[in-house]
Amino acid sequence: MSSPATTIESRVSEHAPDAGKRLPNSVLAMIIFVVTEIMFFAALMSAHTIARATVPGGVWPPAGQPRLPVERTAFNTAMLLFSGVLLFISSRRARDGYEKARAYLAGAIATGIAFVLLQGVEWVALLREGLTMQSSTHGAFFYLIVGAHALHAVVAVAILTAIYFPMRRGTLAPSTFAATQVFWYFVVLLWPVIYLRVYL
């Protein structure tokens, strides 16, 4: 079992001298998975763009439908981006040992959880205002796209939380940490695109 002071470099070099230059299989697999996810969200955004362009009168959101909370979600967007920055700093600090990276990972998890919770609060408010999956095309696309992202965010936060404890013990494999980062960066960087297309 590795000691807590084990660094990424030393763990990688345990297996092969040039292993640090190789792309771990788990990271490549996660990249391929993210590519498929990008296509999934691109299809949703494409359908949303066409529906928005073909709405009668060119008014979006359609008449009688509530306006989305643009300002509150902008704050939420900034928080999610900050979460991505914290994870990036965590990965940099992990080069000198997991002890220095733990706090930043915890911060990334906390801001990620806060993002999901604020999204939930926003959904409750919108449901009370009458925006549902059945209320209009606007509502259907909103809950489909934002809900799909929220599902990814929940799963990603769960994975981040799952790797926190091995990191604390010093037993986290660097490839697992790297693969998790790829997924979280995807969730973080996808959100501004959704925000610009769906909310504005």
Binding site: K21, L23, I31, I32, V35, I38, M39, A42, A43, S46, T49, I50, A53, T54
Partner: protein
């Protein structure tokens, strides 16, 4: 009665289709009506066609640079 083979029937079908007026070639949803709608359809078609190619080529190039 004259029996046509598969190739003959295929050529007749393709030739017959080519005689149909140009309006019938276009998708009724994307090419009829508002020009803005047609532009949106065209734009999204370009995006959805180019995106997977760009992603795969981008990853391939990145891996090649990484290992070269």
């Amino acid at each position: 009665m004259c029996r046509l083979n598969f190739v003959s029937r295929f050529l007749i079908a393709v030739g017959g289709t080519s005689l149909i007026p140009a309006a019938a070639w276009s998708c009724p949803a994307c090419m009829v009506g508002d020009p803005k709608t047609a532009a949106t359809y065209f734009g999204m078609t370009v995006v959805m066609s180019a995106l997977p190619i760009l992603l795969v080529c981008g990853i391939g190039y990145w891996l090649w640079r990484r290992h070269s």
